[in-house]
Symmetry: C2
Amino acid sequence: MRADAQDNRNRILAAAEEIFGRTPGASTEDVAKQAGVGIGTVFRHFPTKVELLEAVLTVRLERLRDRATELADEPDAGAAFYGFFSQVVAEASTKLAISEALVASGSAAGETARSAGAGMREAFGKLLSRAQQSNAVRADADFPEVYALLIGASRGATAAGLDPAVRDKMLDILYDGLRPAPTG
Amino acid sequence: MRADAQDNRNRILAAAEEIFGRTPGASTEDVAKQAGVGIGTVFRHFPTKVELLEAVLTVRLERLRDRATELADEPDAGAAFYGFFSQVVAEASTKLAISEALVASGSAAGETARSAGAGMREAFGKLLSRAQQSNAVRADADFPEVYALLIGASRGATAAGLDPAVRDKMLDILYDGLRPAPTG
């Protein structure tokens, strides 16, 4: 792809992320306007709204995967795990809006988004293992239930348009459950 | 309503709860077949699919409210709170399927379902207060975050079609977070 085409593509994706994250039912025209490109340019890059939504979701999942991968080098494995968990939950409402817009378009996430999601889960699993090795997360918590808690907290925070103070108190309770029981 | 009409209504509601809980996209005809009544009888009681879905959701919320109200008399306030929490999460997938069928019909829950939901939340709040008074739930957990955890756990359990063993481990972690910190 030529540099200016790549530049347009990135601007369209950034605009789409912002607009669909706020208003799942927004139109492709709203995206074009926000990106400062013609509607024809949007359709050249993303022939359908489903393709555009899928690309936005993929970018978001890849960004989370990269963030988790980066955090795996943090010296404080507990802070890395809990920090990533909180970030996913805080960003959940816009991500969920995009997933729901996809479902409303009669389409589930396709292969690219699914593979980005798998990469994110794998990186999150590494953060969990490291946090357990450094005794910041209880050893008897396996990936499936911890991942279910991540999804659940994200949805719980979103469902009620939860205010940030309530979200933080919810996460405090959850994190107390995830920490190893005090010994002695 | 005459006794036989009431009887038909109840059979339609029971059939609809089972069918929509399993298959949100099921048709009113499937419900009539399962209830053993004619499609005309279904439409006489519930002129639209939205009205039928709404009635099913209301019955479900009222049942949970009644269960919570009953449990408020249990001598073991902790067992009552955690038992009710687990029951809501275990039943969540069918309830969510019904809510989602409503949303897919282009309709949110109407006044009757909303008021049944408010009754359920109020009864759950009482279970929470009693459990806190008997030191089975930490005193610093307020209703909004505990309710967010209930919604979140329900959605987390449903999202992945979570198997019951994983669901129970997820709830164990959550309940450890909800219990008061051990003293001494």
